[in-house]
């Protein structure tokens, strides 16, 4: 802004007249039109995904991934089968067959056999084909024993194998 207040009295009114006459004088509308067309050519309309900066894409990716993981976790939780934690106790009918520990004639001739449920060391059953390894060698196996009147085991049936 003009801070020198000196106004020449010889030209002051003349400039006032000229200023007033030119006050509304603007560049032709065509100039603005051409400039805006040049601007549009220089800055073509971008698609929305071009307008995002790499940082914004990073944030969007992070949020999207988190949402996807959350949705997946929710779906799996809702539709996952409920695990039965109860230990199945096999019915008597489902139990395996007796393994003969003596001859069939001896078992048939036994006049007063008894059935006893007991824990048998796994190692003792290795000869019958039960797998034994260092991890389970100390375990016991629940079994039913058919015992003769003299206390000799005649047959064995495994109830549960840990």
């Amino acid at each position: 802004m003009n801070t020198d207040n000196y106004r020449d009295p010889a030209t002051g009114p003349a400039f006032d007249a000229l200023r007033g006459a030119m006050a509304g004088l603007d560049a032709p509308r065509g100039v603005e039109k051409e400039l805006m067309a040049a601007f549009a050519a220089r800055h073509p309309q971008q698609r929305w995904y071009h307008a995002l900066s790499p940082a914004q894409w990073g944030v969007a990716g992070g949020v999207g991934s988190t949402m996807a993981v959350a949705v997946l976790a929710f779906v799996l939780t809702v539709h996952a089968p409920v695990q039965d934690t109860r230990v199945a106790i096999p019915a008597a009918a489902d139990r395996g067959d007796f393994i003969a520990l003596d001859t069939l004639e001896r078992i048939e001739q036994e006049p007063n056999p008894r059935m006893v449920e007991t824990d048998v060391p796994r190692t003792a059953l290795a000869s019958l084909g039960l797998p034994v390894n260092p991890e389970n060698a100390g375990d016991s196996v629940r079994a039913e024993l058919l015992i003769g009147s003299d206390g000799a085991p005649l047959a064995l049936r495994l109830i549960s194998i840990p």
């Binding site: 009295p9 030209t11 009114p13 003349a14 004088l25």
Partner: protein, 200 residues
Amino acid sequence: MMTMTDSTTDTELLRQMRCGTAAAFQALYRRHQGPLFRFATLRCGSPDTAADVVQEVFMGLLTDSFKFDPLRGALPNFLFGVARKLILKHEHPRQREESLARYDDEEGEDDAPDSGSDAAEPLRRLLSDELAEQVRRAITLLPPHYRDAVILFEMHELSYLEIAEICQVDIGTVRSRLSRGRAALARRLAAHRPETLGAP
């Protein structure tokens, strides 16, 4: 996105313009085109040339070919400076033709080159006020370097410092050009219509 209001600074509008906001460029144009067009019109005497100059100035702003630095001055002054340089570029071939013609004709005109006389007719029609038209014609007859100082000081109310920045001269030069320009103008106006000036 920030809305374009009258209070939005030129620097902010420039920043948005460079980010591709068309509305910011349009706001800048509408804010500054009027004063620039009026300056260019008076300076070169032709509204058509002035329109070309205004368009070139804003094209330069758009392409950043003039390298505006907000730390070195205000945008309006920068735009005036660019417009002035473009006008000088437009005038250069014509001044050369005129000086050659004068040399051939051997005419001893005491007036400075009338760079706008051939294109002044449309402007004359624009200015219906008789006194305004006399001033415009008298300004056209001033030497170009006086014309810059007189128009920027009297019409745009810029300070000596701002005019020095625009014309890239020192303040003393602005002061002397303005003084001589005013004196020449007063003489011409007094010679044409002494009764309209209210001079003693």
